[in-house]
Amino acid sequence: MISRAFLFAVVMIYTAFAAGPFLWVATMSLRTTTEISRDHYAWPEKLHWEKFPDAWFNSNYSVYFENSLLVVISAVIVLTVVGAMAAHCFARYRFRLNRLAYFIIFSAIIFPPQITIIALFQILVDYGLYNSLIGLTLVYIAVQLPLTVYILESFFARIPADLFDAARMDGYPEWHIFWKVSLPIALPAIATTVILNTILLWNEFLYAVVLITDEAKRTLPLGIQRFMGDQLEDVGMIATGLMIAIIPVVIIYIFFSEKLIQGMTAGAIK
């Protein structure tokens, strides 16, 4: 009984800790900057819903949203397909340097982005991809690929080898086996990587701020930066922009959280 109460208390404190800032930003998104600077923590006296269409239409948020959608969706599609193929090969085929190649890809996870970003910047400039959405998409794919391969490889490796042999006996070439056997069975793990990648890339700021300068090519996290000036910050509009940016992620999470947990804990395939 006491241990349950303790657990409950811990969960409550954690929830307050995690949800508090979110609620705070949510209240600020409905208040004007003047109201906020008068009292940072007050409830909205009047709900300024008009700030949302204002951000969307007058502050270019529709464009940012579109850019984010384009970059994230294409990056996630490529990540999933290429990552799954690589993971399938690492888990399924014996070839020279298999483990070494896997280790090198995996070790890329440990480098913080700050280490590579200057080199990346230079490379993109050289290839004429700087300040383009294609360039940003390619960088996102490169950055997230190691983790994707890592998660999927461990799942593919647990699929019994007999299934692949059975498909071979049924007359299927390797390429079809990947699409018709590996991929559908690994769906929980694939859902996990799709959600993780979507959330991470949707919120990504560092690469975007370094690699994108054009107003028309900004993604959502950069759009928020627009309201930060040298002299003054439009805190109210930043909060509104944040809410617009967060909503899709929250929706995805609500719909797929069960799948996400399933994929993370998915064990034996019977």
Binding site: D165, A166, G171, I185
Partner: protein, 353 residues
């Protein structure tokens, strides 16, 4: 139907010295049920997987219907295989599991429907077609795995210990069904098992393997009666053949205290006498020797008695009738049925003719 022929088939895994499969020669006839039998690690599964095309062949020839298929990929060999783990596709219904191979071969949809429902009816699982594998019992999964092979109507069926994941009662039932199925289809089947009862009851012929090599090939009873060496003698039969060290001297064969009227064969004086437990009797009329009873195991239909004969290092097992009255600690008369006994060379382990 097809013939399968293995000539000096060899498998060497990289970075190992020993051969997993060592120059195996085997001819499987049209419609034959051939059993590959041996202890685990004897190379029987590797041999099967080479026939299937799932393992590469290091050297030797493999031909199906007289055509060399060493380098033909598994998918083009027209062979079906039933796996020990069943290997059902977990994301597909039973129907799709059965139809998967046919779809690849561009069989028209109406034909697929017909064949799948025929096979399902044959195996008594017509009501299960829409279920997923995880909603099936072990026996039902086994049937689906079997059906997946049958529905393709392949040249050759391969079985890799298909019954070893089933419980004992179900295994006996499925054994009978497989025999029936073989008669019904008349197809060439190659069946790998370590279970001698399966081998004896199902095989037209048995190919016994040990250490990557073929030891003996023959009809089950022939192999049982005339084992080629001590390995086969001790591997087949439960309890196994008694292998007793023996010496020829003037009068005949001496096994510890026992003097047996056996005429000398071969050149060596020291031999191994192999005699099956059912070829030894416990009775008083002119016994060969007296033995001390170490244990009595009444099994209902029969009684297994363990004897010690003075001067013999191994115990002697006797399969007696259920009426055996011997008690532990007593001495009892033992008679060998020498017509059914074999002599083996202790060094080469081969049978002495």
């Amino acid at each position: 139907m097809a013939t399968v022929s293995l000539k000096d088939l060899t498998k060497r895994y990289p970075n190992t010295d020993s051969l997993a499969v060592d120059a195996v020669n085997l001819n499987v006839e049209h419609g034959e049920f051939m059993v590959l039998l041996g202890p685990s690690g004897c190379g029987k599964s590797t041999t099967l997987r080479m026939i299937a095309g799932l393992e590469s062949i290091s050297s030797g020839h493999l031909s199906i219907d007289g055509k060399r298929v060493n380098d033909v990929p598994a998918k083009d060999r027209d062979i079906a295989m039933v796996f020990q783990s069943y290997a059902l596709y977990p994301h597909m219904s039973v129907f799709d599991n059965l139809a998967f191979g046919l779809r690849r071969r561009n069989v028209p949809k109406s034909e697929i429907d017909k064949r799948v429902s025929n096979v399902a009816a044959t195996l008594g699982m017509s009501e299960l077609l829409m279920r997923k594998p995880h909603a099936l019992s072990g026996g039902q999964r086994q049937r689906v795995a079997l059906g997946r092979a049958i529905v393709r109507d392949p040249k050759v069926f391969l079985f890799d210990e298909p019954l070893s994941n089933l419980d004992a009662a179900l295994r006996v039932g499925m054994r009978g069904e497989l025999i029936k199925l073989h008669h019904h289809l008349g197809a060439t089947m190659i069946y790998v098992t370590h279970d001698q009862v399966e081998a004896m009851t199902m095989g037209d012929r048995i190919c016994i393997m040990n250490g990557g090599k073929v030891v003996q090939i023959g009809a089950p009873l022939d192999v049982y009666r005339d084992p080629a060496d001590t390995f086969v003698a001790s591997f087949l039969g439960s309890p196994p053949t008694n292998l007793l060290p023996a010496v020829f001297n003037g009068a005949g064969l001496t096994v510890g205290e026992a003097k047996l009227p056996v005429t000398k064969r071969g050149t060596a004086d020291e031999v191994v006498l192999g005699i099956r437990p059912e070829d030894i009797r416990i009775d008083g009329a002119a016994p060969h020797v007296q033995g001390e009873v170490l244990a009595v195991e009444p099994l209902g239909a029969e009684t297994i008695v363990r004897f010690r004969i003075a001067g013999v290092s191994n115990d002697v097992l006797v399969r007696g009738p259920r009426t055996v009255t011997a008690r532990v600690g007593e001495r009892a008369p033992i008679t060998f049925d020498l017509a059914s006994a074999h002599l083996f060379d202790p060094i080469t382990t081969r049978r002495i003719e």
